[in-house]
């Protein structure tokens, strides 16, 4: 499927951010050659999967409250078929990392993620989950959950308003629709930018450590 042909009800292609990523993703998929029958089956399955993404209840902090709002009457993510929040990782498809992840929580999150059934996705919601956010200088906070688990969509905000979360969910929907289901699972592709980012992070970290040492 082409990125441009991707249908998302009531939103058109250009209103979305970061289409480049999807294009690159499709390119990569195409490299392997697409079997028509499989491609069709892929589309069917992906249609189903993209409209039935059950989140794991995982809220650690303030973003969790906004996440509750997403589920409440005003925004109602049930409209997208996402409403069945499962408490058991076995039955859920996506983790909304809503809130700060600290060192003590990191292994728990990792364990939960590991225990989820494939295919599984991660949405980092809020500054804390993306980069440590407000607490990125803290001694105990994980600087972005992608240090522990692969993240599919980043929803910035502190906390993001419910509609922003919906927007993130639509992004997720688009991504799932493009995937080659029979080529799953594979590690999320690490783009060059991501690498740069990681290096930058490492540098920051070193600088911080050095600064502490001097004191």
């Amino acid at each position: 499927m082409e990125v441009k042909n991707l249908r998302v009800k009531s939103m058109n292609h250009v209103t979305f951010n970061d289409n480049e990523y999807l294009e690159q993703y499709v390119e990569e998929l195409k490299k392997g050659g697409v079997n028509v029958a499989i491609g069709c089956l892929d589309d069917c399955i992906n249609w189903g999967r993209s409209h039935s993404v059950w989140p794991l209840t995982f809220a650690t902090a303030c973003c969790g409250i906004e996440f509750m709002c997403v589920g409440a009457a005003r925004t109602d993510f049930a409209r997208f078929g996402w409403e069945v929040t499962r408490n058991s990782p076995r039955q859920s498809d996506v983790v909304f990392v809503a809130g700060t992840i600290v060192n003590k929580m990191a292994p728990v999150l990792k364990r939960l993620y590991d225990q989820m059934a494939e295919p599984k996705y991660v949405i980092a919601m809020g500054g804390c989950a993306i980069s440590g956010g407000p607490f990125k200088n803290s001694y105990n906070v994980v600087k972005g959950v992608n240090e522990i688990i692969p993240v599919d969509v980043y929803v910035p905000g502190c906390p993001p308003r419910p509609n922003a979360v919906l927007y993130g969910m639509l992004q997720m929907e688009r991504k799932i629709k493009l995937e080659g289901f029979f080529k799953l699972p594979k590690k999320p592709a690490i783009t060059p930018e991501e690498k740069v980012w990681a290096e930058r992070l490492a540098k920051e970290e070193e600088a911080r450590k050095a600064a502490k040492g001097i004191k």
């Binding site: 993306i130 407000p134 990125k136 980043y154 992004q171 930018e193």
Partner: protein
Amino acid sequence: MKKYFTDIFSGIWNLLKGMKITGKVLVSPAVTECYPEKRDELQPKERFRAELTMPHNENNEHKCTACGICAMNCPNQTITVNKSKITDENGKSKIVLDQYLYDLGSCIFCGLCSRVCPQGAIEFTNNFEHAVYTRSKLIKQLNKPGSKKVEVAKPVAPAAKPASAPAQQEKEAAPKQENENNQ
């Protein structure tokens, strides 16, 4: 014995009353706002802080002097101001803004930066649709390529809105008085 029966009946009565409430809601219209369908009507209130922007006027000019006060005041180094010293034709050296980098992914929308900016060069808009697949895309360069600082002395008229935020069109009057209130 009497209590046993009254308990049962009052219990049932109260349960029915509860069901009446939900039944009433069942027939009244839903309060759900359909976000992507009614996207245009559902812009947040104008004061809502969702993204830091640097307004540019029609000549692609902004007001930032690259003083770095905002970056200094930011609690978690969300803003990076890269500046360079240049000598202009008059031989005077001055500092110009190279890159104004803003990390949407770690901003906490405290509004401190825009409050402390002596030039009023940055302000918040309420465009909240930022979700991306790559984290590095969240780092935004706020000054547009090729832009430079306006030469007019302050205070300046409010600059034109960047084209990327169409929702901002109706919001014109607000910034002026806001600037006055800034401490």
